[in-house]
């Protein structure tokens, strides 16, 4: 009887882990703890999440220079940072593309774009493309909202910035703002995951 119990537990664990491996390899899910990193910023300095002692969390956005969807969101990403950096949720932008495939996303081009658009947030190079696969980002732009907890930076929202990539004026649901506002007000996040159209990350 004991053996049977033991066996059924083994079977259960095996079954669960089989499911986990089916769904869990593609990056973070809501509630996961996100990895920190040390990536080079456009100003030449390395940036890590742990540098932000006073932050309550982060709006991590995988984005780039060359994707029209990312370009369409540049001003809105800037606005997000301006709105939330003082409230404890800075934007951290990470450029995940292979710059040999996309030379217009290299560090020089990132610097130029940031200057031209007046980026107020760090714009980091995912050197060696090691960070985006851990997050499970597949495209630009792709947002992960993290909240600082005792366990680490917990993933609270994954997906799109809002519901209209084409026209900021026509947006009806501001997914990222709504999620950060909910976190700031200690409320439940209504929409935790959304789909966003984007350019596949170039490997």
């Amino acid at each position: 009887m004991k053996t049977l119990k033991f066996l059924s537990v083994v079977v259960l664990v095996l079954t669960l882990s089989a499911f986990a491996s089916n769904t869990g390899d593609n990056g973070y899910k809501i509630g996961d703890i996100a990895t920190d990193f040390s990536l080079e910023n456009i100003d030449g300095n390395k940036v890590s999440l742990c540098d932000y002692k006073d932050a309550k969390g982060f709006i991590v956005i995988f984005t780039c220079n060359t994707c029209p969807y990312a370009v369409a969101y540049e001003d809105r990403i800037n606005a997000l940072n301006e709105k939330y950096v003082t409230k404890g949720y800075p934007v951290i932008a990470i450029m995940p593309n292979n710059t040999e495939v996309k030379p217009d996303d290299n560090m020089e081009a990132m610097k130029a774009r940031a200057k031209a658009k007046g980026f107020t947030f760090p714009y980091l190079m995912d050197e060696g493309q090691k960070i985006y696969p851990q997050y499970g980002a597949t495209k630009t732009p792709h947002v992960y909202i993290l909240q600082k907890t005792k366990k680490g930076n917990e993933v609270k929202y994954i997906g799109a910035i809002d519901d209209n990539y084409k026209d900021a004026e026509a947006v009806t649901t501001t997914y990222v703002e709504d999620a950060v506002n909910a976190l700031l007000n200690k409320q439940h996040i209504e929409i935790k995951e959304t789909r966003a159209i984007g350019c596949s990350i170039k490997v």
Binding site: P68, D163, K166
Partner: protein
């Protein structure tokens, strides 16, 4: 006179084509071009998701290959000839290719139409303009994260979705799975 006008239109679009793609964000107020404009006998059909839905769920005996792409998407453009080849080579086997362009509406005249003309695209091309991405991405396929390019191959109830780029061999291999049945 009419021909002269057409020529003029083509020339204008050809010149506009040189405007950099990075202008998209700034140019959101560009007048949306009419869906009925015919440039050199060439009309582009534009759909939102409700319009596109029947085109990607046809219930006939044909194999449908639907590719989501855009002229600015380098991996999309790279694999486009493979879809063109399938369109040419498998016509007699009841295979239909549909190229769904996600170019922004302000690029239809300056990028998309010139691209179709320049490369003499023979497959059916439609433009897809629907900003409610969180609605139509999962509706098209539950597993689609939203990255381009993406492809559907279907015949009746049998349907496969691919969020990836293809080599010519890979695409033919996938198609042949449908040809067998």
């Amino acid at each position: 006179m009419k021909r002269l006008l057409v020529l003029l239109l083509v020339l204008i679009t050809a010149c506009k084509n040189e405007v950099s793609d990075s202008q998209i964000a700034e140019s959101k107020n560009v007048i949306k071009t009419s869906e009925e404009v015919v440039v050199d006998d060439f009309q582009l059909d534009v759909y939102d998701y409700d319009g596109l839905e029947p085109l990607i769920n046809k219930d006939d005996d044909k194999i449908h290959v639907v590719n989501f792409w855009a002229t600015w998407c380098a991996p999309c453009v790279k694999e486009l000839p493979y879809f063109e080849d399938i369109n040419q080579n498998y016509k007699d086997k009841d295979v239909e290719v549909l190229l769904v362009s996600l170019d922004f509406p302000n690029k239809y005249e300056t990028s998309l139409k010139p691209f179709i003309k320049k490369y003499d695209i023979k497959s059916k091309v439609v433009a897809f303009d629907d900003t409610d991405q969180n609605r139509w991405i999962p509706a098209i396929n539950e597993n689609w994260s939203g990255a381009l390019p993406a492809t559907i191959i279907y015949k009746g109830d049998k349907r496969q979705f691919y969020e990836q780029s293809f080599t010519q061999e890979e695409l033919e291999t996938e198609l042949k799975q449908f040809l067998k049945t």
